[in-house]
């Protein structure tokens, strides 16, 4: 059987370039907000450094998201904040990132604006934690809701938050925070287990497509995280490898998963 078309079916990848980069950066942004919130709630001495980092990653991610939109100069961008669409994962992601950013900003501004000192830090830390967790979870949910795209199956709900934590803890290790090491080892071990399990959950043409288009990057990402797991005596090298593996994995899953389910 052969196929031809008159007119063009819209089968080109729709999330490319900056939009795919967002799926990587939102992990760093949300994960860093969670980390900064925990450090804030525990009054940890590293707190300020991670608050700045969380703010930086959130702003960078939001900028990338805005720059990647073809409607970037339209007023419609404001509708993200003027709408109430709780069924939409992106709506949750927007508010998760925004509330985390607002909390970060208010805590950091406390040093210079005495009026803000009245706001309890525990409250801001809790809001940041919730916002960060939402941002951490949202990319996986945004992919899974597309039932017609079988590569994005339920495993995304676990892979995206775990790889986000892997990236964030790797950054913490690169910055020399010794407390991150134990958690990074755990995140890397869980990631390796997920990488082994995930292909087994794919079926039929989705599995064939995944193996054909994504296996090289997937296997490389898996090897990088596995090597990181072995090399944890050299924290910076292990962190670098873990970070690279998680970035590659998230990028690849967003790109390769855009295949439509067979059936048309």
């Amino acid at each position: 059987m052969s196929e031809f078309f008159y007119g063009i079916p819209n089968t080109e990848p729709f999330w490319t370039g900056l939009k795919t980069l967002h799926y990587v950066l939102v992990g760093l942004a949300g994960g860093m907000a969670v980390l900064a919130a925990i450090l804030t709630l525990r009054q940890h001495p590293d707190r300020n450094r991670y608050l700045w980092l969380a703010g930086l990653f959130i702003l960078l991610d939001m900028f990338v998201l805005w720059a990647g939109s073809s409607a970037r100069w339209y007023f419609s961008q404001f509708w993200l904040f003027l709408s109430f669409e709780p069924r939409a994962p992106i709506w949750w992601g927007t508010w998760g990132l925004s509330s985390a950013l607002a909390s970060v900003g208010l805590i950091l501004l406390k040093t210079w604006v005495p009026l803000l000192k009245r706001i309890p830090e525990m409250l801001l830390g809790t809001v940041m934690l919730v916002g960060g967790l939402v941002a951490l979870a949202y990319p996986g949910i945004a992919l899974v809701v597309n039932e017609n795209r079988p590569v994005w199956n339920e495993m995304m709900l676990v892979i995206f938050p775990v790889t986000a934590l892997l990236m964030v803890l790797a950054v913490a290790m690169l910055l020399g925070s010794a407390w991150a090491r134990r958690w990074e080892v755990m995140a890397a071990a869980v990631t390796v287990a997920l990488l082994v399990a995930y292909p087994l959950t794919l079926q039929g043409e989705a599995r064939e497509h995944f193996m054909r288009e994504g296996l090289l990057v997937y296997a490389t990402a898996g090897v990088l995280v596995a090597v990181a797991l072995v090399l944890f005596r050299n924290p910076r090298l292990a962190a670098g490898l873990g970070l690279a593996g998680a970035v590659g994995l998230r990028w690849m899953l967003v790109q390769v998963g855009q295949i439509q389910a067979p059936g048309l």
Binding site: F4, Y6, P9, N10, F14, S76, L80, A261, G263
Partner: protein, 193 residues
């Protein structure tokens, strides 16, 4: 409330693409994207050959997966069941493009999402969609599924059975095919109209 739908008789469709051209003209669809296209399939081996021409477009599903994922409410379903886009609210996030199982949506050069509207602007003037009025073989019938006397219901009854694309997803699409030479994509379950 009406349930507007489009019936396409695949036995009558000759793949001339007049509907596709009419759609482009009527809606000023830019080069690089299509609201409506024809899938041509050659099947079998000589001397038992069949060709199927299947026009495809937004199916204006009764349970549209593109509506709940829109973070700004730009994609919505109106009272007549048409799935439309409010361009002023669209942020071109492509969440709806990802959710559509028919590849019916694309980001236009103007920066927002485009798709078939069943020519809602023409319906407002009591005119049929451009693809329907243009079809030289009368392969397309447009009407209200809730009206038992409508042309579309009569056409479905005459054909005996209507099929929809990817019925297994449970979206209740409202582009209905009759007399399909091949049943690829149509046969996983009986169509629920």
């Amino acid at each position: 409330m009406a349930r507007l739908a489009m019936l396409i008789d695949l036995k009558a469709c000759v793949g001339c693409a007049a509907c596709s051209v009419a759609c482009k003209m009527e809606n000023e669809v830019p080069v690089g994207g299509s609201r409506l296209w024809i899938r041509e399939r050659e099947m079998g081996t000589f001397p038992n050959l069949t060709v199927e021409y299947r026009p495809e477009q937004c199916a204006h599903c009764e349970n549209p997966p593109c509506v709940p994922v829109c973070p700004t409410g730009a994609t919505y379903q109106n009272e007549e069941g048409l799935v439309l886009v409010d361009y002023h609210k669209c942020i071109a996030c492509s969440a709806c493009v990802a959710a559509c199982p028919y590849d019916a949506r694309f980001i236009s050069k103007a920066g927002y999402v485009e798709k078939c509207t069943f020519c809602a602007h023409r319906l407002a003037r009591n005119e049929e969609p451009a693809c329907v009025t243009t079809c030289p073989t009368y392969a397309r019938v447009f009407g209200d599924l809730d009206d038992p006397d409508s042309d579309i219901n009569k056409a479905i009854q005459a054909a005996g059975q209507g099929h929809v694309l990817r019925p297994e997803l449970g979206l209740k699409p409202k582009v209905i095919y009759v007399n399909p030479p091949s049943k690829q994509g149509l046969t996983r379950k009986e169509a629920q109209l």
